[in-house]
């Protein structure tokens, strides 16, 4: 039985770049059939609490897996699959 993912979050300031990351992540989760809601966090204080230098951020189960850029759909799926595998 593979591990399941509990949370997927996209953090950003609400700009077009992080919106794009959010949309792609939603798409990726949908295509992989994950029963997880992708949370879109635009509260800057919460972004601050992560202690990162760049936005947007993609976090899976609290682990920061993408910081500072928007990967393409395929890459996002790969990242999610990798998280599922270990």
């Amino acid at each position: 039985m593979p591990k399941t993912i509990k949370t997927i979050q996209v953090f950003g300031s609400g700009c077009p770049t992080c919106k794009r990351l959010h949309e792609r992540t939603v798409q990726a989760a949908k295509e992989l059939g994950l029963p997880v809601e992708v949370e879109y966090v635009t509260d800057l204080q919460r972004l601050m609490d992560l202690g990162v230098m760049q936005s947007p951020v993609l976090a899976i189960d609290g682990e920061l897996v993408v910081v500072g850029y928007v990967p393409d759909l395929k890459k996002i799926k790969e990242i999610i699959m990798r998280k599922l595998a270990n």
Partner: protein, 321 residues
């Protein structure tokens, strides 16, 4: 630029040989200019953005904050402005970073210097300027950007306006840097590659449009055409360019090549620089995001100070160049 000589050969080959167009015609001129500029800019973008983003992986948040807090006034402003060059070309990142700096105890003035220079002086703008105008203009742009950022931050820092920040800004503490595993060289390369792809994916349509429009102007509009309306002796050209630039942030990659072609037709260099700085440095989308961390009054002060800085620089260059 001799390094791009092969690209010129390729452009010549495509236009005059493969397509068989006549030399010295408007169409051939425009097309040649378009092919050469597009290839050159994409090569520069890919190489430079990759290198910059690779190096950036060596610059974690914690180091930067420590480095900037507790520096004496003007020095702090200059360092923060310089730091703005190294950070990504996106207002979305600039605002969270600004917040992070303030919460880490970096003086407000220095944080503002960063906020001004981060979007204004960025690798994509510099590459475009270098590719289209040569290194002197690129350097001039970078230097005046850092200067405006330093001075604006210094001025705002002396206004005693902490109360115009949203309450949570000064109350909150930025989190300890996230526990990220030490990056391997492979991870750094992969980050740089993804980031570069992301940037190019974002800017390519604008570059094609901008260079395309620029090429048409290059080929079809008579030299000196704009001098009568927007030459260096027209006092209104600089403020007009500054205001026109404000709503155009997203298209920075398209605007630069376009405006580049206009300088040949008599648009003064100082006016062009003002326009570009206002396109990159001041933008409504940024103001919307800034609204989350500060009151409207402070955004207006911020925009006004930067605006004045940009215009003064524009006038200065129109006189000097």
């Amino acid at each position: 630029m001799p390094i791009f000589y092969p690209v010129q050969l390729l452009a010549d080959w495509i236009v005059y040989f493969a397509l068989g167009l006549q030399h010295e015609t408007h169409l051939a001129d425009s097309l040649n200019f378009f092919i050469f500029d597009v290839i050159k800019i994409f090569i520069l973008l890919a190489v430079v953005v990759y290198l910059v983003s690779f190096l950036r992986t060596y610059l974690p948040a914690e180091k930067v904050r420590k480095f900037l807090s507790g520096k004496p006034a003007v020095i702090g402003n200059i360092l923060a402005a310089l730091l703005g060059i190294a950070t990504p070309f996106c207002t979305c990142s600039a605002v969270p970073l600004f917040l992070g700096l303030v919460q880490a105890g970096v003086p407000l003035g220095a944080a503002f210097s960063f906020l001004v220079s981060s979007p204004m002086v960025n690798e994509v703008a510099l590459i475009l300027l270098f590719g289209l105008f040569g290194w002197k203009i690129a350097l001039l742009y970078a230097a005046s950007g850092v200067f405006i950022a330093t001075v604006s931050g210094f001025v705002i820092g002396h206004m005693r306006i902490e109360h115009l920040l949203e309450d949570f800004v000064l109350k909150g503490r930025s989190g300890e840097s996230a526990k990220m595993p030490r990056m391997t060289t492979k991870a750094r390369r992969s980050y740089a590659w993804s980031y570069t792809r992301d940037v190019i994916e974002k800017v390519w349509p604008y570059i094609l449009l901008g260079v395309g429009a620029g090429a048409l102007i290059h080929g079809y509009v008579p030299v000196g055409f704009l001098a009568a309306y927007a030459g260096a002796d027209k006092w209104y050209a600089v403020p007009l360019a500054t205001f026109l630039g404000m709503p155009l942030y997203a298209n920075v990659a398209g605007i630069m090549p376009l405006v580049g072609a206009l300088t040949e037709k008599g648009l003064a260099m100082g006016t062009v620089l003002s326009f570009m700085m206002s396109v990159t440095g001041l933008s409504f989308p940024e103001f919307v995001i800034l609204k989350k961390v500060m009151k409207t009054k402070l955004i207006v002060i911020f925009a006004a100070v930067v605006c004045v800085g940009i215009m003064l620089t524009g006038y200065l260059f129109n006189v000097v160049i």
